[in-house]
């Protein structure tokens, strides 16, 4: 009995995931031929609720690419892989408190903020470095021009409200 219910539950979940994935995919399927530019796949995956690192994204793309990469990803290959990802709840988003702690690691003196220079240094030299464009975009929203620093607690709160 329990197995049947589980199976039904999974089937329903899979059907729903399929619809979600198809919708997100189609937003970028500009030629209406069930393909998207490989450069947009990251956006699609992330907007489906996943939060992979660049490395993880790279691996995922390798899974859905053609044998001979064409620069395009086909829906037929994307769908099963993405469905698995969603079913397994891979690449879960980062909770607010973890994010806060990450900022605090970069601010050992516990000032409550990072200077613009510090933020730039960490984001462009550590982890999976930002491109210049990414850095500029983050700065434009995060940095308080009067203090030239980012109050990370406020920043997180602002961004999180935005999401919802």
């Amino acid at each position: 009995m329990a197995d049947d219910r589980d199976r039904d539950g999974t089937e329903v979940a899979v059907a729903e995931f399929h619809k979600k994935i198809k919708e997100a995919f189609e937003v970028f399927d500009h030629e209406s031929n069930s393909t998207v530019d490989v450069r947009e796949v990251g956006t699609i995956i992330r907007s489906l609720g996943c939060c992979p690192s660049e490395g993880e994204l790279h691996d995922l793309i390798a899974e859905v690419e053609e044998e001979e990469p064409t620069g395009y990803i086909r829906f037929e290959k994307f769908l099963p892989v993405m469905t698995e990802v969603l079913l397994e709840r891979r690449y879960r988003p980062i909770p607010e408190d973890i994010l806060l702690r990450a900022f605090e690691v970069l601010d050992p003196a516990k000032r409550g903020f990072l200077t613009k220079g510090e933020l730039i240094k960490y984001m462009t030299e550590e982890g999976e470095p930002f491109s210049q464009e990414e850095m500029e975009e983050m700065l434009s929203a995060a940095i308080d021009p009067e203090t030239n620093s980012i109050n990370y607690k406020d920043y997180i709160t602002m961004m999180v409200i935005d999401e919802n």
Binding site: K19, V27, S32, S47, G127
Partner: protein, 753 residues
Amino acid sequence: MGSGISTQHHFAFQNAEKAFKAAALIQRWYRRYMARLEMRRHCTWSIFQSIEYAGQQDQVKLHNFFSYLVDHVTPSSHNERDFLTRMLTEQRSPQDSEMENRSDYESIEVPDSYTGPRLSFPLLPDHATALVEAFRRKQRLHARYVLNLLHEARKHLVQLPNINRVSTCYSEEVTVCGDLHGQLDDLIFIFYKNGLPSPERAYVFNGDFVDRGKDSVEILMVLFAFMLVYPKEFHLNRGNHEDHMVNLRYGFTKEVMHKYKIHGKKILKLLQDVFCWLPLATLVDEKVLILHGGVSDRTDLELLAKLDRHKIVSTMRYKTRKEKKKQAEEKGKANQTGSAERPSPWFLPQSRSLPSSPHRPSTHKAPRAGRSSSVPCGVPPDPKELSHRVRHSVDLELERCRQQAGFPAIREREEPSASESEVDSDAEEQPEPTPEEWRQVVDILWSDPMAQEGCRANTVRGGGCYFGPNVTERLLQKYNLQLLIRSHECKPEGYEFCHGRKVLTIFSASNYYEVGSNRGAYVKLGPDLTPHIMQFQANKATHTLTMRQRISRVEESALRALREKLFAHSSDILVEFKKHDKDETGLITLSDWAAAVESVLHLGLPWRMLRPQLVSSLTDNKLAYKSWLENLAKEKLSQQNIQSSLLETLYRNRSNLETIFRIIDSDHSGSISLDEFRHTWKLFSSHMNIDITDDCICDLARSIDFNKDGHIDINEFLEAFRLVEQSCSGGDVSDCPQATDSSNSGCSSPGAH
């Protein structure tokens, strides 16, 4: 000591590792955030586009409705017939040939108190420049000069061929601009950034100068002025909005009447003619073809060059006389045999749902194998002939409509007195294009490129076609061309290449849907004919906003429009919801919600992506749909306490309503009589199967007749129900008159097709 150092190293290493991981975490989170913004931006764009194109389709449907009236309605009274006749005929009565007469504007006095620009002809370059400057300072040109300028413009246009030719031997560079849609700031910016027109700096403006924006008049004045000053270097192509029928719906007519209360009608009449004289295309160095919409697999440049473009008054649908006559004859025969046949009108929508999204022509519900024939049309008949037509009808469906609409059942069975000779003599007075000629022009003014091969009818817009890369290739080869530049479609970056970079879309109205929605662009061609794109966004405010804020603002605007659309179809949506809730729990799953709204609206939108913005509270992951719909209605309830369902209907039809009003108001006075309103509403609602009682509408109309004189002020009516935005007063100052740009020269085009 050794261990001390290694411990230090250990700590240092640990700290470094921690920092590394922390940074990686933040970056990971941030990238996801940006990706979601990107997705929202795309969804927002889809919303705007699908609603815009659905609106254009509505426009065509509306004109079908009037065609239907013309063909089928048998007015039971003299008044009715006159009303219809007046409503539907072009104003080309004998008095109007006075239009040629100079005394039209010469008699208009310009008061000494007038401080605006004064024009004298022939125009000099300084005058044109001064005009731009005057408009930039928000001055208004006096009606006399407007009419004078339009007369001169018309005289010039008449001499031009259908396809203008520009050579880079004479002008060193040619700048091509796309749709401006009444956005004067963008035009001023282009001149500021790129330089004013001159013999060395040729310009081609590719249509759609008017409608939607608030300064269409000023744009036309500037464009015509420069055209007169630099006739060899300054070129204009006609767009689908250079069309008085389209102007009725999309704001230009309203703008003219608002700015020129006394002489507006004269101006509009003259403009109607001027628009017909605009050339259809421009050719640069015999290699680059510039036209407004696109091409079809039937496009024949030789035919286009030869036809009399002046005959194409409007590209809206009207049947040709021959077709009408033929139909009338067939009806006559059916009448005589007393057949009870009910031919179903060919244009009545099968369902009330809207067409599918423009992005998915391939999944459109009504598949067409190849190119379907576009609807032929011609110049609408003159009043005499019209009244003959109108008297001639036998349709049983019509009878039902009439009974529903409350007209008496008596039908006049007059003999059709339209004789062959009468028709022919009329034909001589007003020549009309052949169906093929008309189709050629509609194609180049309305078509859009698509990614797939082939050529199919553009059902989303209601005119022209979708043309594929092979159609482009064939055309370019046939006429030995290398590039097709067109406009007609708004693009986020202001431009877009497609068909292997053989087709360039250029769109010059920045912030078209909303502040921050898109950039504008123009393209420069030198003697080597390599396109150099320049982008801009004529609103300083957008540059101080972060991408996040820009997207939020635009998104909010799109969502508002979408919520309105949802509200306007509440009844249908409720029906669909109930289908998914057989047990009557009052709840449905989100999946069902998405399916239901799509099946009613047919906008092809990613509903699951949009769901968080449209549906806020859930119980057990399900939606209580009745209260959700009620919330949508709450946003829309006006001060008047009218039923939600009536308001819903008004909302659904508001653009049509406004257009109908303006058509009825043939003297552009801004008000219509209660009777006219009632008649038209009755016919319209029975035609569209709208279920609103007659009494309701009468009460509504009466309540709007604030001064009880039997007339409704159009604007009051529309604004009373918040069917339109409060109209801006003439002296609106835009927030940021100075434009700044983010230019991107060079021919690289990121993310192009």
